[in-house]
Amino acid sequence: MKKKVNNTICRCEEISEQEIRDAIRKFNLRTVDAVKRLTRAGMGLCQGRTCTPLLTKIIAEETDKKVDELLPLSKRPPVRPVKVEFLAREGEQKLD
């Protein structure tokens, strides 16, 4: 019997292992992207840099897949935290 543990998986968005497992079962989720969209795990400041391998492992367990069968989180800019202010200033300032 597995001991009931509920560790935080995504520290940026404070999403627990149980929340992720529940979401996968309830909504029949099959991909890392789907879990991210539904739970916000991997959607925070670090953009899943830490928790993606953990999410992948959990999804693989829940769906009886191997981790290599699951695609990594899709990526879009910005890949690092960027203040909206900088993007808004685009067009006004010139680079050194």
Binding site: L54, P72, K75, P77, V79, V82, E90, K94, L95, D96
Partner: protein, 374 residues
């Protein structure tokens, strides 16, 4: 839009051993290179590596990592490579444009060729209490002691006995900390014996078939409960042991940092020996996207010595395709590097990388037919 667009021949994202080596080769042939790094100093992980490299002398055995870093920097400076530090590459866009942020300003650089050498990310390991302050990646602890000269704790438990775990243990001892134990889930030590012997000689115990069950503490790490594992890596009840510690370093391996390659549309495959998903590439390190190259840990987790050779391969190929280097000269240079890579990838650890790297080339061939052969 008034946004300035800088143009150059080659953009190198990440100025670690792979990126610097690529810059040196490409700029050495006359290409106009811009190299980017998010840190205040180039060199990547080399400046954390206060230990001597070993192997053959052609691969700079006996030289310490930071000295190799200094040598590379000297060459880059001599060649006048434009190095943008404290600069974040936040995205990669069409027509080989890289979006950057420097000094709180946004900018765009367009290159004819791009090398993505963004390194790797440490793998997390989850146990009860893993989010307590004091639990950190082994690489993070190494950055703190060797770069910032800050000791993050007094009594350390290291989880993972690969080379990273063993080397950080030794360096923590050198920095004045106590290493209470090194834990390894597998039945045997993961890293080189030369590293494990160093810490065993000074009495640091390495517990194999063991892991962390729980880390306890009110506001930070105070106690670490370790447990023995059975053959299927399941905790054995009744074998728990409590150790007093204030810091836990997780050395659970690395996975390639591939965000920009994904964004560029590079084809990915999973190679467990090389850390996970990575952009497949040909023998010149070019990905499935024309003109976009990968090298170093981004192209599969290996070591600084292989990263430098891969970076060189990419730089030479870029210089050749941009017309700065004749085909003959390029071929000769590449041949030498491939021989060197073959030597680096021999032995019990290297041969696994070699096999995986051969599979990457095979994957490329099935992907793009014979196109990649010339």
């Amino acid at each position: 839009m008034g946004l300035e667009l800088k143009k150059c021949d080659v953009i190198v994202v990440g100025s670690g051993p792979a990126g610097l080596s690529c810059s040196i080769e490409a700029a050495g042939c006359g290409a106009d290179v811009i190299s980017i790094d998010e840190n205040g100093r180039p060199g990547g992980q080399l400046f954390k590596q206060i230990h001597k490299f070993f192997g053959a002398s052609q691969h700079r055995a006996g030289v310490r990592g930071f000295d190799i870093g200094l040598q590379l920097l000297e060459q880059v400076n001599k060649l006048g490579v434009n190095t943008l530090l404290n600069t974040v590459a936040y995205g990669i866009f069409g027509q080989k444009t890289v979006g950057i942020i420097k000094n709180e300003k946004i900018g765009m650089i367009q290159g004819k060729k791009i090398l993505l050498a963004t390194g790797a990310i440490e793998n997390p390991v989850v146990f009860s209490g893993w989010t307590l302050p004091g639990v950190m990646g082994a690489g993070a602890a190494q950055t703190m002691i060797n770069i910032h000269r800050v000791l993050p704790g007094k009594r350390f438990i290291i989880l993972g006995s690969g080379n990273v775990g063993l080397i950080i243990s030794y360096q923590l001892l050198q920095a004045g900390a106590s290493v209470i134990a090194v834990l390894e889930a597998a039945p045997r030590i993961g890293g080189y014996q030369v590293h494990s012997s160093k810490i065993r000689r000074v009495g640091v115990p390495i517990f194999t078939s063991s892991s962390i069950k729980e880390v306890k503490g009110d506001k930070e790490v105070e106690e670490v409960v370790i447990v023995r594992l059975d053959d299927s890596w399941r905790p054995i009840k009744g074998t728990e042991k409590s150790l007093t510690a204030d810091c836990v370093c997780i050395a659970g391996g690395l996975h390639p940092s591939i965000e920009l390659a994904q964004m560029a549309g590079c084809d990915l495959r999973f190679f467990s020996e090389l850390g996970g998903h990575l952009p497949i590439h040909n023998e010149n390190m070019e990905t499935t996207v024309d003109g976009i190259y990968v090298a170093g840990d981004t192209a599969g987790i290996e070591e600084a010595s292989t990263a430098m050779e891969e970076g060189r391969l990419a730089g030479i190929d870029m210089a050749q395709k941009l017309g700065y280097l004749s085909q003959d000269k390029a071929l000769r240079k590449k041949e030498g590097i491939r021989e060197s890579l073959l030597a680096l990838r021999s032995g019990p650890f290297g041969c696994l990388s070699h096999a995986a790297k051969s599979n990457i080339l095979q994957a490329m061939k099935t992907k793009r037919g014979s196109k990649i052969l010339f």
